[in-house]
């Protein structure tokens, strides 16, 4: 497929040099290589610089509310499980205002991919500290050093129940593209923490900073993040969590954890709803051709018999 086809012709209005360009390119290349059908693919985003991502990609796009991309994505995916759903959100978006939804997605293990644009600041509102900016860090827009601690997104995703957890770097395009492909192909909730330099507001975690420090987990021959058997879950999780706290001189990128044995929410629903996901909310019949509901009088009495009393007039 031609490279341009996954890119809209809108002018991309991020700051020149923004890490988001790297993420956008990696996403588009991943979609290309997976040959995703644009009409069966949906990018769902929140608010902020990352929120604009769907407009730049030529697949369905839903640019939602601050922090709420995950709930929108959940409704879309559960209603039509055939869709490939990719969430884009920033650190303020997904771990500040939207942290509750972020955790809930892990518990559900819905088959969606979350790409986390992690730049440590609220860019569009001019550089306030975000939930991933470490304590006492003073980026240039801050009047005083950051007074709140940072949350570790990888450790949080692991403990919340995401079954694919990885970290990428915005300016290592080839590596990030491969992570995105693997995340999309993973069956279950996938999370990629993408280290994304903000050229305008984050003068601490810059491209220069990351370039010197990131290393690839897979370069360590002994690193195996894949849960081979369900019984391995806790040991793999503990290793992944431990590694997620490595930060400073060396910052690991790559896959931290991958578990294909946990059921997805869609599979759990199929246990109860029998015909799901083949027959799903988006494609099940609700009316006859003349508009009469599928639930006619007889079916009504059958389905709702718990509410019906046969009158005897004794």
């Amino acid at each position: 497929m031609e490279h341009r086809s996954y890119k809209t012709d809108l002018w991309v209005d991020w700051c020149p040099g923004c890490g988001n360009f790297g993420i956008l390119t990696a996403v588009i290349r991943a979609f290309e290589e997976l040959s995703l059908d644009p009409s069966k693919t949906v990018i769902v985003s929140g608010i902020g610089c990352s929120g604009k991502t769907p407009h730049f990609v030529n697949v369905n796009g839903v640019h939602t509310l601050h922090g709420r991309a995950i709930p929108f994505a959940m409704g879309i995916k559960l209603a039509n499980p055939q869709l490939t759903v990719v969430v884009h959100g920033g650190d303020g978006d997904l771990l500040g205002i939207g942290a509750g939804h972020f955790v809930a997605l892990g518990r559900r293990n819905i088959d969606v991919t979350v790409i986390f644009h992690n730049n440590g600041v609220y860019g569009l509102t001019k550089g306030q500290a975000s939930p991933t900016l470490p304590l006492n860090t003073k980026t240039k827009a801050l009047a005083k050093p950051n007074i709140q601690q940072a949350v570790n997104p990888v450790a949080l995703a692991l403990s919340a129940g995401y079954t694919f957890v990885a970290r990428g770097y915005a300016f290592d395009g080839e590596h990030l593209k491969n992570l995105i492909k693997r995340a999309i192909l993973h069956k279950g909730a996938a999370f990629i923490d993408v280290l994304q330099p903000c050229i305008t507001f984050n003068d601490v975690y810059t491209a220069e900073y990351y370039r010197k420090r990131v290393y690839k987990l897979e370069d360590e021959g002994s690193w195996n993040p894949v849960v081979e058997r369900p019984g391995d879950r806790s040991s793999k999780l503990l290793k992944a969590i431990e590694r997620s706290f490595e930060w400073g001189d060396r910052i690991p990128i790559g896959v931290f954890y991958e578990d294909a044995h946990t059921t997805t929410l869609e599979e759990r629903f199929s246990q109860r709803l029998k015909v799901y996901p083949a027959v799903a909310p988006s494609n099940s019949r609700i009316a006859e051709s003349d508009g009469r509901p599928v639930v006619d009088r007889r079916r009504f009495e059958e389905v709702f018999r718990e509410f019906i009393v046969d009158v005897e007039g004794v």
């Binding site: 949906v42 640019h63 959940m74 209603a79 009316a287 509901p293 639930v295 009495e301 389905v303 007039g313």
Partner: protein
């Protein structure tokens, strides 16, 4: 002499099976062919606080509202007797446990102190001691009540002697004593009780048998009272009847209407609706799928509304259900749905606010919240239902309106309707129609927000060869962010002018219905669950020579100002009375704003208890016969 109607209060501590008593009695009465309505009053509490069921049973029709005084007070405990001393009428029957006779008001910890002192003061005024026995003597002496004292413990011991029942489960059978006593007074047929018990305890035959045995013991002790409060032969001819709450009626309506995604966060009094939907999330009837409905309990109401919107974008009929505090959390999502012309339904059960307020009590004070919550201007539809039957059809219609006009729809109900149980004729589902509005398969170059029509043809996410964008930002026809002023003018207006379209396309009977006299001297205006009491009050007053009409407003937004104005100007302005479960009688302000009509007379009730037919009749009588402008009601424990 047999009666046309009988009022009953069943009272006891929360968690003691009072709801079971209500269900068993109601289904047995329905089996006979009687009409029943039962209001459920309870605290925000799991175990121990006073709850009661207020029923009206009718042989001639389906009752529309409850009234005072009642003919039977059946009590599980002393608190019921202290609390409902004023509620029983002359010649009424009091069922009680003889072991509580010596209980004193002061000893009952579950009665709130303010209530306790109010009751104590009332008793002092009546010259009655604060013991159960003196209350009973008073009721017998002054009100001619018949006392039906039963030794609950002895009855249960007899049961225990015959069946192997774990002693700690014995208290569950107290609800059976209440059922048995009331059934005996009403002279209900044993087979009807058996039928009802079988429905209640489906499959647990030993419970049916034990409860029937208990019925025998209670009947033995009440030989002379059998049929003391008998009803006339039922005059209705339904072969089948629904026994359901308002929550259930909405759940059934939603499923018939094609609901496919329902989200919720647990909140009273909305959660029961989602429970009912979940029980019926999928059925296969003769190989035909009814469903599947994905029911999601979300992490909060924000997720509830946002995921419902997401499901709607994918083409599912989707909804969420909540009450005031939850709706407040949904408002940002509501505005997004308005901006993106998403057909999503929010079923909004009002309860007593502000804040947690009275979480298990009823209210209509969120009218303006439903109408005006949200930032920016956009079209929405707010409908309300006057009773269980309307609630069913409106639940279907909410989806039709949402999809026809591509707007969020709020179905505004309240706790009274949600939790009250009523016998209702089976809905005529064959008359229901599913109308999905402008739907397209999309295609290349698809414009989701095509400006060539007010309602743009809607393709679903996932449509073949179709790509679309949605954004909360102002957008162009494709759904991309655009801040151009001319586009803003066109797109912003497109969404708002739908209001005119809605008003011109919704038929009059869906906007409001008028009941009562065709040539009224006075007109009552209300919405939602006021309907039943209003119709009863107007009928009662017409028997006293006052010709009245009731305007049941069903479309609250956009407000049908022209139709309301046309009706209200039929009588002098001092003959128009608004009625509402609120302090402000907000529908008056709405009429002033949207129809230019000043309604100067009002009946308000904001105790959290329902407006009863009796007190509304008195209030209306006072207003139309004297210069009184405002009556505030407060009856009910």
């Amino acid at each position: 002499m047999p009666r046309e109607e009988v009022g009953v209060i069943l009272g006891g501590p929360q968690g003691s099976g009072i709801e079971t008593s209500m269900m068993v009695l109601t289904r047995a009465l329905a089996r006979h062919g009687f009409g029943v309505i039962a209001d459920r009053e309870y605290f925000s509490n799991i175990t121990g606080r006073h709850s009661y069921i207020h029923m009206l049973i009718s042989s001639k029709s389906i009752p529309r509202a409850v009234r005072y005084p009642v003919d039977i007070v059946a009590s599980m405990d002393a608190e019921t007797l202290f609390t409902h001393i004023s509620d029983v009428g002359v010649g009424g029957y009091i069922v009680y446990d003889t072991s509580v006779a010596m209980k004193k008001l002061e000893e009952i910890p579950s009665i709130e102190d303010t209530t306790k002192s109010r009751i104590a003061e009332k008793l002092r005024g009546l010259g009655v001691d604060t013991t159960v026995s003196s209350i009973l003597r008073f009721l017998e002496r002054e009100r001619g009540c018949r006392l039906v004292g039963l030794d609950f413990a002895a009855l249960l011991r007899r049961l225990l002697a015959r069946y192997r029942i774990e002693p700690r489960l014995l208290s569950r059978y107290v609800s059976g004593i209440i059922v048995s006593a009331v059934a005996t007074l009403l002279n209900l047929d044993r087979r009807a009780i058996e039928y009802s018990l079988s429905l209640q305890f489906g499959g647990r035959e030993e419970l049916v048998e034990q409860n029937l045995e208990l019925l025998k013991y209670v009947e033995d002790g009440m030989q002379s009272l059998r049929g003391a409060v008998a009803l006339e032969k039922p005059r209705q001819s339904f072969r089948k009847i629904l026994v359901a709450t308002g929550n259930d009626a909405v759940a059934m309506g939603k499923i018939v209407g094609g609901l496919r995604y329902q989200s919720y966060y647990p909140i009273t009094p909305a959660a029961d609706e989602s429970f009912t939907i979940e029980r019926h999330e999928y059925s296969s009837v003769d190989g035909v799928d009814v469903g599947p409905v994905v029911v999601m309990q979300t992490e909060d109401e924000i997720s509830a509304v946002c995921s419902a919107i997401g499901a709607a974008l994918a083409g599912a009929r989707s909804a969420t259900a909540t009450s005031g505090p939850g709706f407040d959390l949904m408002v940002e999502g509501l505005s997004w749905a308005g901006a993106n012309e998403v057909p999503v339904v929010i079923t909004y059960y009002q309860r007593g606010g502000p804040s947690t307020g009275q979480p298990t009590r009823g209210s209509q004070s969120d009218l303006f919240n439903a109408l005006f919550a949200g930032h920016g201007e956009f079209a929405r539809i707010v409908i309300s239902s006057g009773d269980h039957e309307e609630a069913f059809y409106d639940a279907v219609e909410a989806f039709n309106l949402a999809e026809r006009f591509q707007v969020p729809v709020i179905h505004l109900l309240d706790k009274f309707l949600a939790n009250s149980i009523k016998t209702t004729p089976l809905p005529d589902v064959d008359s229901v129609r599913i109308v999905r509005g402008m739907v397209t398969g999309g295609g290349r170059g698809y414009k989701r927000f095509d400006l060539s029509s007010t309602v743009s043809p809607r393709a679903f996410l996932g449509a073949e060869d179709t790509i679309m964008w949605y954004t909360g930002d102002e957008h162009d026809e494709y759904g991309h962010i655009v801040e151009d002023p001319e586009n803003r003018r066109a797109m912003y207006s497109k969404r708002i002018v739908k209001m005119d379209m809605i008003l011109s396309e919704i038929p009059r009977e869906r906007k409001l219905t008028v009941y009562g006299d065709e040539d009224p001297e006075y007109i009552v205006v209300g919405w939602g669950s006021v309907k039943g009491a209003a119709l009863d009050a107007i009928e009662a007053l017409s028997r006293k020579g006052f010709r009245g009409a009731y305007v049941n407003v069903r479309l609250l937004w956009p407000f049908p100002g022209r139709e309301v104005l046309e009706i209200l100007t039929r009588v002098p302005s001092n003959r128009v009375v608004a009625v509402e479960h609120s302090y402000g009688v907000l529908i008056s302000d709405l009429a002033a704003m949207a129809a230019g009509v000043r309604i100067r007379r009002g009946v308000a009730k904001f105790t959290g208890r329902p407006i009863t037919s009796t007190e509304l009749e008195e209030a209306l009588h006072k207003i139309i016969t004297s210069g009184v402008e405002r009556v505030v009601l407060s009856y009910g424990a």
